[in-house]
Every structure is written in C-alpha cells, then in structure tokens.
C-alpha cells in the first residue's frame, strides 16, 4: 500500500516539478538579455503614447525615467509632452521639461540646446512654453523658512 502511494506521489511530484523548473530557467535566462538604447527609447515612447494612459501612469513613467542615470531622448520627451496634453495637465508638461533639462547635468550648455531644438516643433504645436519663456530657468520666488511660518 505504502509503495503504491509513494509511486503515485512521485509521479505526481514529477509532473508538477518539471514545468516549474523549466519556467524558473526561462525566467532566470531573462537576466542575460540586455536592452539596447533604441529598444529602451522605443519602450518608453510606446509607454507614453499608449491610448488611455492616465496621469498616474504618466507620473510613474516620468519619475522612473528621471530617476535613471540617463538623458531622455527627444522622442521620449515628445511622447511625454503629448501624453500630458492628452490628460490636459500643462503643469506636468512644464515639470517634465524641467526634469529633462536637469538630467543634462553639467552638460547643460551643449545637451539642452540640442534637446530643445529637437522638441521645439512639438512645443509649438502643443503650446507648451519653454522654461526660458516662463522665466523658470532662474529662481522666480523665494520660499519662506519653515521657522518663520
């Protein structure tokens, strides 16, 4: 009786274990693939230009991108701007521009004009002002200290 039980148990175990192990192997092998820069750009462009994307997802994508060690490519920036237009949030678009400018780091003098040149048609089409037009390239208002409030 015990032997029969053990045998059926073993066969049951085998049938459940084998697919699991192959699945594990498939997942583990994913670590080996490296995403190229073009694929990365395309992925985020697709993410932002998806129909029905909401402001939560846009913010999530932008926060993720601006937390990475990279400068978003003009295509991603444009897709982000258009996404902000679709959810009717101009503050989001302006903040996104600021964030992308900030990502240029110490290369602002060379990289930012290039980015601006590439995205200017989109900015004009959507009516998003540049930071220079808003005067946000320099501090505008001072904040009262919390100790004085």
């Amino acid at each position: 009786m015990l032997r029969i039980t053990a045998r059926s148990l073993a066969s049951a175990m085998r049938s459940t274990m084998i697919p699991t192990s192959s699945r594990v192997a498939a997942v583990r092998s994913l670590h080996g693939t490296e995403e190229s820069a073009e694929e990365f750009d395309k992925r985020y462009e697709k993410y932002f230009s998806r129909e029905g994307i909401d402001a939560w997802e846009i913010r999530k994508g932008m926060n993720d991108l601006l937390g990475m060690d990279l400068v978003p490519s003009p295509k991603i920036i444009e897709a982000g701007l258009r996404a902000s237009r679709r959810v009717n949030d101009i503050a989001l678009a302006i903040r996104w521009l600021e964030g992308c400018k900030d990502k240029c780091g110490d290369q602002k003098a060379t990289l930012y004009p290039y980015l601006l040149e590439k995205i200017t048609p989109t900015l004009q089409e959507l009516g998003v002002p540049t930071l220079e037009e808003l005067g946000y390239d320099k501090p505008e208002l001072a904040l009262k200290s919390v100790y004085d409030a």
């Binding site: 932008m62 601006l66 400018k101 900030d102």
Partner: protein, 181 residues
C-alpha cells in the same frame, strides 16, 4: 537636496487631533490623508503616501501642492482647450497650483552651509577652551609619581621583576648585557 516638506493643514489643530484620534481608534486610519485636505491626489508618490516634496530625482509627488479653489477650477477648464490660448501668467499659475518650487528654485545654493560650518567650529573652539582651562587650572599639580625619576625607578623595578616577559616591557630588555634590545 531640498528637505521633505509636509503639507501643513489649514484646520484647527484640536479638530485634526480629534479626527486623527478617532480614525486611529477605529482602526485603519491615516493621519496623513487627513492633512491632505482638499488637495487632489494625482499619483502614487514615492511610497504610496499622499505627501508633497520637491526632489530632482522624483519630481512628481503624489498630490498637487495647493488646494482646489474656484479660480483654479476655472483655469483647469480653460486648460482643457488649446494651450496656445493660455497666457504665460495662466501657465505659471497652473504650475504653481501643482508644484511648490521650480527646479531652479529648489536647487538654488542656499546659505545653510554657513551654519553647517560655523556650528562645528564653535563647538571645536569651546572644546579647545575647556582643554586649556583644564591644563592650566585643574591639572596644575600632578602627583609625585608622575615625576621623571619616580617613573624611571618604576620601570627599573618592572624590568627587575621580569614583568610581561613574552610581549611586554621585559621582552625588550636583554638581561645578559643589561641593555635595551
């Protein structure tokens, strides 16, 4: 980096305390949510809590900075249309409704370094003062045993007794030549 700035409620503190207490007592409450007041929650935020802060590596916090007012509602209505019809002032107002400070503002070099440098220097100066005071007044009279000949006599006795002969003071002394090794 800018400091984490919590949104200050505009309700009387006693009311907030009562409501928070009530919420916590009933279980599953959240005081932060109450402090948000009328502000729109527009995202997940950094940890799922509706708090506002300005950070360059996380520029979109979970809530809008200002509460909803009729003027802002009118502007938001206008925002639904073509953005080219919005004036620069409108755009700025919409931005300030969502965010407290621009990047240029919260990254501006603040004079906090003066305090950060000055305070430790003051503490160092006070410590030096205490040291000088102790040296000149408190420790003016040392015990007799700290005198030169007393100390050398003690060392001689230690070598005589072969104290600590493996790694210590006697291991440094050669007993054949009566000299330091």
């Amino acid at each position: 980096m800018s400091a984490l700035r919590l949104v200050v409620p505009r309700m009387p503190p006693s009311y907030v305390a009562w409501k928070m207490g009530r919420r916590f007592a009933s279980g599953g409450g959240d005081g932060v949510r109450l402090m948000v007041g009328d502000r729109e929650v527009v995202g997940y935020g950094i940890n799922g809590r509706p708090i506002y802060f300005d950070r360059s590596d996380f520029p979109f916090p979970a809530i809008r900075y200002r509460t909803v007012t009729p003027e802002v509602c009118a502007l938001r209505e206008k925002e639904l249309g073509d953005w080219k019809t919005l004036s620069i002032e409108d755009k700025k107002q919409l931005y300030r409704h969502s965010f407290c400070q621009t990047f240029a503002e919260f990254q501006y070099f603040s004079p906090d370094w003066k305090l950060a440098l000055g305070l430790p220097l003051w503490l160092l100066a006070i410590a030096c003062g205490i040291t000088v005071f102790m040296k000149t007044t408190v420790y003016k009279y040392t015990p007799d045993t700290l005198e030169e000949d007393r100390q050398s006599a003690q060392l001689r006795r230690m070598i005589h007794l072969q104290m600590n002969p493996v790694t210590g003071v006697s291991s440094q002394w050669c007993y054949n030549t009566n000299k330091w090794k």
